[in-house]
Symmetry: C2
Subunit: 472 residues, 2 copies
């Protein structure tokens, strides 16, 4: 070999070796993370406790408080650098007695149907509400009918989820306005009440609750609003086609009580090099009350806790501060997320990356990112590391409701994206229970989140270039 | 523009336009296929009938015969060019009375455990078999113990599935030798019987059956062999650690009857241009008897039928002959597959591509291919067409047991690869039932198969170059 070339070649060799080692190191680290998650996981046992020992964790409920105490205690067991509760006032809506409803097509013949009050709804009168029904699919249809056709009647919103979209969250987005704003819209035309087809792709007997809002409507104008199971929505629609004058009865005793004190639960491993650069993983601790909230969002809670545990077990000491945040009140207020973001801003904490898991505990497929082009390019450069774990989805898109308030011009937010096909079978219904979560799928999600957190901790985020104004 | 360049540019433009149109056409066709599958599918209703009206379809059983008649009749309804039954003699093994087993660690105190006979096993003596237990994890361990330690005892094979492999079929491959050959091996050392840990990644109470073989062992040397649930395997192992002298009792009355007549069910759309080039889609119509065989392989059967239906509904007239084959006796003999391949060879039918669905009805992730490099390159060129449907897995590997005998030097075989995390929770157990199949996941699998079949029909297979001997 030419002696002049030799030192250059050596330098190149060392550079190449360094590059190879670094690449191999990331591969090895991911291997350790996944292996640990699948052979020595804790998330499934945590979820068992949250689901079966505690149960549904509606904001302001005793169960929500038990979940705060339980997860705080479990985080303390893990030997993190800090664990604390962040106080936040939350709304307290209670369902009251089990709802009851029927269709009366022939006077005196009552066909019971499955309904549940929507979260935030007012009660019916004590004896229930009985009225004729007007079926619509859109707010435009409702407006076209107007007060004359609507006044004193029950508006039945029956727009189904679109079945031919591959990502079921897109179908959800196309329907959820009926649930959230149906009562507000129908009240404009003096409807007596609202029944909404459950936001569920499947035909079954479960009513699915979820948040609704009256906006700034005066209390005396508010009308009760309930979800009906998809099977019963089909039944009601078919009977209405035969008999537009049938009567619908429903009774619910839910009410909004004064706000109560609750908490976000926070744990931290303080960064060894950049303690004021924060990486956040989280889910929401509250849930609806009909099931035990195993998928929404018990799974996200225990996966987020597991990220910090897997980092420790895998021997990774983060350079940046790594926080798990279990947000309170995502479902009906987002108070915990709002509070956390306010406090982070007040304390000048620089959250460079925040990742939420709030799409169910199913097999992970990848992530959706809110990121600028340079950071997205860096993320794509990591994609091949995930291939052995069948993680393939790395797209720009939304992140999560709880991390949303942390978005800045420079940071990156992300949401775990599990397989979504079964999610809306369970979402906000009595069938969102522990036995529908698969241990391996849950653990693979936790490992996938940990792998991404490891990479963001190691490489940080990159600077985004600002768009220059086009000259001439 | 220079007049000389213009015609060349035009040619280029036309070429480019042709290319674009062709690409767009494939995209549009796939869109139509997926949309039709999700809005106008038939596979779920077929599976409901196979699972709930018929049930488990063990080879040689009345249910298997009912399934033959039902699927033939449904294929005839579809208006295919030909539908027929291909006769094949199949083994008939029957389970007899429900099995019964217990552990007796303290004399007189019996702890019942969950077992089931393995398919093909002989019965215990009429009063059952009671003996001491020797636990092993490998055949090497068994051989090391030898006849002195084994004679007259029950060998308990307790090697669990490896939990840290991402693809659960790999974990299955690492365990199934115990089930298949455990009795054959243990009999060499004069064991009295064999108990095998169920091939299940989960800890639960279901015993999982499956095929086992005595090879060419004389009938009088054959010993009974049963699977035990994973929870009970753990229990037995723990009790053995405390008391190596405990007794195990089991009783089963299964038996092998003479072979009976059965059938492969075949339907065909004859190709418009190349009728002797065959594209095959299939699954197996037989199942085990403990559940209703919804995942294994009811799903594959109805998805394969749906492929031909979706082609017709999407207005695609295949150039090549497209066959659906519902194979009989995959589980305990592979007689249907063997017969089909023999007949295809005898008739000189050129099967250019065969695709099997036999890995459950879960969300499809892609395919595994047995293909030469040139065909694999062509397949990879189609990969981007599948991206909108979250189909990302296109790897070389195995295909399916039933299509395996059709492999030639020039053709391509493939297996649908659904998400595998939950599959072995259900496989060969009483929990393989219809309610564990999700309609959308099943339909997405059928659409994904149809899309691939459409592409193979349109583009055919490409020639593989033979490897040249390396010169010096």
């Amino acid at each position: 070999m030419n002696t002049l070339i030799k030192p250059i070649a050596s330098m190149f060799f060392l550079f190449y070796l360094g590059f190879e080692l670094q690449a191999q190191t990331d591969e090895k680290v991911l291997e350790t993370i996944y292996k640990t998650a699948l052979t020595n996981g804790q998330s499934y046992q945590w979820l068992d406790h949250l689901s079966n020992k505690i149960g549904g964790r509606l904001s302001g409920s005793e169960n929500a408080e038990l979940a705060v105490q339980y997860t705080k205690s479990e985080l303390e067991e893990m030997g993190l650098d800090k664990v604390w509760l962040q106080p936040v006032m939350v709304p307290k809506w209670v369902r009251g007695l089990q709802e009851y409803a029927y269709i009366e097509s022939v006077p005196g013949e009552q066909m019971a149907v499955n309904i549940c009050a929507l979260g935030g709804s007012v009660a019916t009168p004590g004896n229930g509400l009985k009225a004729a029904v007007v079926e619509v699919k859109t707010f435009e249809e409702l407006a076209a009918l107007g007060t004359e056709a609507i006044q004193g009647k029950i508006v039945f919103f029956n727009r189904p989820m679109q079945p031919d979209l591959i990502q079921t969250f897109d179908s959800y987005g196309g329907c959820v306005d009926q649930r959230y704003a149906g009562a507000m819209e129908a009240a404009k035309y003096k409807a007596a009440g609202v029944i909404v087809r459950s936001v569920n792709l499947r035909l079954d007997d479960y009513p699915h609750t979820g948040s609704m809002s009256y906006g700034d409507m005066p209390v005396e104008q508010r009308i009760p609003s309930a979800a009906i199971s998809t099977n019963d929505a089909e039944k009601l629609s078919a009977l209405l086609a035969d008999n537009p004058n049938l009567q619908f009865y429903f009774k619910q005793s839910c009410q909004q009580l004064p706000d109560v004190q609750s908490y976000n639960v926070i744990g931290e491993i303080t960064g060894s090099e950049f303690p004021n650069e924060f990486i956040l993983v989280g889910g929401h601790l509250d849930s609806w009350d009909l099931g035990d909230g195993a998928h929404d969002d018990g799974a996200g809670v225990v996966q987020s806790m597991e990220v910090l545990r897997l980092m420790k077990l895998s021997g990774i000491k983060p350079k940046r501060s790594l926080r798990v945040v279990l947000f309170m009140n995502e479902e009906n207020g987002l108070r915990g997320a709002t509070k956390y973001a306010e406090e982070a801003k007040r304390n000048g904490e620089n959250h460079i990356f925040a990742l939420e898991s709030d799409a169910g505990g199913f097999t992970p497929r990848g992530f959706s990112f809110q990121a600028g082009d340079n950071n997205y390019a860096q993320i794509l450069s990591w994609q091949s590391l995930f291939k052995p774990y069948l993680i393939h989805y790395f797209e720009k898109g939304g992140s999560g409701a709880d991390v949303g308030p942390l978005k800045s011009d420079t940071n990156v937010l992300a949401g775990l994206r599990p397989d979504s096909q079964r999610y809306f079978d369970h979402h906000h219904a009595a069938i969102d229970t522990f036995e529908h979560v698969n241990k391996r799928e849950l653990e693979l999600g936790a490992a996938t989140m940990t792998a991404l957190v490891y990479l963001f901790d190691k490489y940080g985020i990159v600077k985004e270039e600002r768009l220059k104004p086009v000259m001439d």
